[in-house]
């Protein structure tokens, strides 16, 4: 049928680019490893150096997978938010979901000392950070949802999201006033975002929650397409608005929440990737957009991470700086070029 484009060629190219950026990502790093050895290390053959094998398996490979999960997950959650709120500015960051996670983590890291000694040790373990971040994002999304049911104006919802950002910043400054330098440092480092220090076990848990989020997004494809018409039309087409909306919100908070929990608050990817995707795939059909956003998100995140590694140097830049440095100009460029954001 010619009525709907299938975009086979762009998908094929994107898939190849993804493969290429994946290989580039694991080939480059602070330690130089010849490509031949990287390839051998990947398929399990002996490499020229024992430690190379270790670097590839325990460090670079999980990092590359994390990049794919983070990029695609944030991109998709941005897409879901943009369609749900029918606003091109929507994204996990702008809606305050990331702020919610940050607030959860800030309260945990810096508030833990209030509970004192031994308890503080348990509370600041990695898993409690993950839980605090997820809880924070879910609660904020719930509040945004309740408000969006009462306030019809989507602009108001975005402003409320920004207000949550301010509340987070304010709470963090209040908390930092009372907390130790160590705690403050721990929080600041978390805030830089990092995709590099996940073990295979953590990655496994991460992947499971991520997969649930992705599956829920896939189930929502039809609802998302219907929502393009507006809520009243969607309702008249038999869509159960409340259920679909809750489904989309839960999918978003699972994706954005766990990603923020495991990798820190990574900004701009959620907002920028869907817009970048729409430049290549000029459609609003989520059957096309969703997989395209997935590919784009994964590719961009791999590239950002490759840059952040500063190949052949010992330094690693905070990933958040790189995504902002790439994301913000992209949004500006798109706006200047098209003068109007379509979604």
């Amino acid at each position: 049928m010619t009525e709907t484009k299938t975009y086979k060629l762009p998908f094929l190219i994107l898939l190849l680019v993804l493969l290429l950026s994946f290989c580039t990502n694991i080939s480059l790093g602070s330690v130089f490893i010849p490509f031949k050895d990287v390839f051998n290390g990947l398929i399990g053959n002996p490499t020229g150096n024992e430690s190379w094998q270790h670097i590839i398996h325990e460090y670079r490979l999980p990092k590359a997978f994390t990049a794919i999960i983070v990029g695609s997950g944030l991109g998709i959650s941005g897409l879901l938010m943009q369609t749900l709120f029918r606003n091109p500015l929507a994204g996990p960051f702008v809606l305050g979901i990331t702020s919610g996670s940050s607030l959860g983590v800030a309260l945990l890291i810096m508030g833990a000392s209030i509970f004192g000694g031994t308890l503080a040790g348990i509370l600041t373990s990695k898993w409690s950070i993950v839980i605090a971040a997820s809880l924070g994002s879910f609660i904020v999304l719930l509040i945004v949802l309740i408000i969006s049911n009462k306030v019809r104006d989507t602009m108001a919802i975005l402003i409320i999201g920004l207000m949550f950002g301010s509340i987070t910043t304010a709470t963090v400054s209040v908390l930092s006033f009372f907390s130790s330098a160590e705690e403050l440092q721990q929080y600041v480092f978390w805030g830089f975002g990092s995709i590099g220090n996940l073990t295979w076990y953590e990655l496994f848990i991460f992947f499971i929650i991520y997969t649930i989020g992705i599956l829920m997004s896939l189930v929502s494809i039809k609802a998302l397409n219907t929502l393009l018409l507006g809520e009243n039309y969607a309702k008249s087409l038999g869509l159960n608005l409340k259920t679909s909306r809750l489904f989309i919100i839960i999918a978003t908070s699972l994706l954005a929440g766990t990603i923020t929990a495991f990798a820190g608050p990574i900004v701009f990817i959620g907002l920028a990737i869907p817009h970048l995707t729409r430049q290549v795939f000029n459609t609003s059909n989520h059957k096309i957009l969703l997989p395209a956003v997935f590919l784009f998100g994964a590719i961009i995140m791999l590239i950002c991470d490759t840059i952040a590694q500063l190949p052949s140097s010992d330094l690693t830049l905070p990933i958040n700086a790189i995504t902002s440095l790439i994301g913000a100009p992209v949004i500006i460029w798109l706006l200047v070029r098209k003068r109007k954001m379509m979604f």
């Binding site: 049928m1 009525e3 709907t4 369609t83 029918r86 896939l218 189930v219 494809i221 039809k222 397409n225 219907t226 929502l227 393009l228 018409l229 507006g230 809520e231 009243n232 039309y233 309702k235 008249s236 087409l237 038999g238 869509l239 159960n240 729409r278 000029n282 459609t283 609003s284 059909n285 059957k287 379509m342 979604f343």
Partner: protein, 264 residues
């Protein structure tokens, strides 16, 4: 009346519409008894603020009725599930589209949603229905255009096609002729008349184009402050219903031409 024998699609009995809050009920109109038959084009007219939109919102289950009953195809409105109501009633609203970055075909195809599978894949039959509806509404040549490229008149035709594709016995349109020029106002209403005849669907629309509605509709629902009257346009003119539609200080209804004119 021979019409009474034909199939009744929409029926209300002692319907009361308005807004209910915790404190009090605000009744906008009451004792509404209307019957719409298959294949009829029905216009809903009345002054601004008289409750046309409230009536349409109540009939389409967007807003709760205060009293009385509404039945569509002999089933009480409240008993419909979302999906079954979507197969019995389709809408064209005044609210803007959520996204205009859809092609005309994609937008019209969304009308098949109540019938498609979980990802919304279109079957051969769906394609057939969509293409037929595109032809019926004369927008086949716009198929691949994006909605943001369309004029208001074209977009209205597309929205009508989308409702048509939903394949319901009843189509309700809220002021389909606003923002359109005189030619397109007549064009859209004429199109609705043609569709009602060709497809044997019941089409109900609210409008301020009283003169056009008198010429084109099979039945008119006239809302005034006190009553809601439903009858054929010619009978309504005879009864002088239109004289009471508006305050009489500015415009008067001319029985001969079937239109309003400004008092000199």
């Amino acid at each position: 009346m021979t019409k009474n024998k034909s199939h009744i699609v929409l029926k209300t009995q002692d319907l009361t519409i308005g807004y209910a809050s915790k404190k009090a009920k605000t009744v906008i109109s009451s004792n509404i008894n209307i019957e719409l038959h298959k294949g009829e084009l029905v216009g809903l007219i009345g002054a601004n603020g008289i409750g046309k939109s409230t009536l349409l919102r109540t009939l389409t289950n967007v807003q709760r009725k205060l009293d009385g009953s509404i039945t569509i195809n002999n089933t009480i409105l409240e008993n419909y599930s979302n999906i079954n109501l979507a197969k019995a009633l389709s809408l064209v609203l005044t609210e803007p589209l959520g996204s205009k970055n859809l092609t005309v075909f994609e937008l019209v195809a969304l009308g098949r949603q109540p019938y498609t599978n979980w990802v919304g894949s279109l079957t051969k039959e769906d394609f057939q229905i969509i293409n037929q509806c595109l032809l019926q509404t004369n927008i086949d040549d716009l198929k691949y255009k994006k909605c943001y490229e369309l004029s208001d008149g074209q977009l209205q035709k597309v929205m009508i096609a989308r409702a048509l594709v939903q394949d319901t016995d009843l189509i309700i349109l809220d002021e389909p002729t606003t923002h359109l020029d005189m030619y397109h106002k007549a064009y859209i209403l004429k199109l609705l008349q043609k569709l009602a005849k060709e497809t044997n669907k019941t089409i109900l629309f609210s409008s301020h184009e009283i003169d056009l509605a008198i010429q084109l509709c099979d039945t008119l629902i006239v809302m005034t402050k006190d009553t809601v009257i439903i009858d054929q346009p010619s009978n309504l003119i005879e009864k002088g219903t239109f004289n009471d539609l508006f305050p009489k200080d500015l415009i008067v209804f001319d029985d001969n031409t079937g239109s309003f004119r400004v008092k000199k």
